[in-house]
């Protein structure tokens, strides 16, 4: 196992990248890494340095906590459904 391989760091990199319409190569060029590294990050096979995490967050204009978390993120469907459930209950 690689030293930086992590099971405790979760990220929404693939989601943000897809929403931004960026390919792995384009995102990699913006943060100065190999495109394969983006794949490793998205699959959770590599935990980035603080510097790389901050660079990635800057690309999407969000805080690093929005992109990375020590707790698993809620599924997208659940996140989208939650506000509607609240509205429907009013």
């Amino acid at each position: 196992m690689m030293n930086n391989e992590t099971s405790t760091l979760h990220n929404r990199l693939a989601l943000f990248r897809a929403e931004a319409g960026l390919s792995r190569k384009e995102l990699a060029e913006q943060v100065g890494v190999n495109p394969q590294t983006i794949g490793f990050l998205e699959r959770g096979q590599y935990g980035p340095s603080l510097e790389l995490g901050l660079k990635l967050a800057r690309v999407f204009g969000v805080s690093v906590e929005t992109l990375f978390s020590l707790e698993p993120f809620a599924p997208l469907a659940a996140s989208l459904a939650a506000p509607r459930l609240v509205e429907g209950g009013r």
Binding site: M2, N3, N4, V33, Q36, T37, G39, Y46, S49, L52
Partner: protein, 150 residues
């Protein structure tokens, strides 16, 4: 840096490293171990050519992939540097275990009347061990990489 300006090593693709290292390993094993195990008298020239081909391919892999060779600053990103460090450690262990086993064999060979290589064979075995040692980090990196993402 003056060193990187003088010589900028090529960077082989993942697939090329996989193919070349596979061929190198096959040629090294066939040309070095083969004559020790099989009665192939009269094929000394062919075996020597096979070994030399294996050494040349192994050298190409070592130069064309950032495993064992010098890596310029900025050539690899942080994930690749971590992968490379891990691959070098594994290569170091593989070589260490191989040397340890060879040493044990040497200790046991004389009292146990086991086979020992002559000087010529020992030279080729050492050459094979060295080039496998040099190639292992590049091979690990190539097989860990995902070619489809290139």
């Amino acid at each position: 840096m003056a060193q990187s300006a003088l010589f900028k090593p090529p960077r082989f693709s993942t697939m090329r490293v996989r193919v070349l290292s596979g061929l190198a390993l096959a040629a090294l094993v066939a040309g070095t171990i083969g004559p020790l195990l099989l009665p192939i008298d009269g094929m000394g020239g062919v075996m020597t050519m096979t070994r030399v081909l294996g050494l040349a391919l192994a050298a190409a892999v070592a130069v064309g992939s950032p495993g064992w060779r010098y890596v310029a600053a900025g050539e690899l990103d942080e994930r690749e540097r971590a992968e490379r460090a891990r691959a070098v450690v594994i290569g170091h262990r593989v070589t260490g275990i191989s040397i340890c086993l060879a040493y044990i064999w040497l200790l046991l060979a004389a009292p146990g009347r086991l086979w020992l290589p002559n000087m010529h064979e020992a030279g080729w075995l050492m050459a094979m061990l060295f080039w496998v040692h040099v190639m292992v980090p590049a091979v690990i990196l190539a097989w860990r990489d995902r070619a489809e993402e290139e």
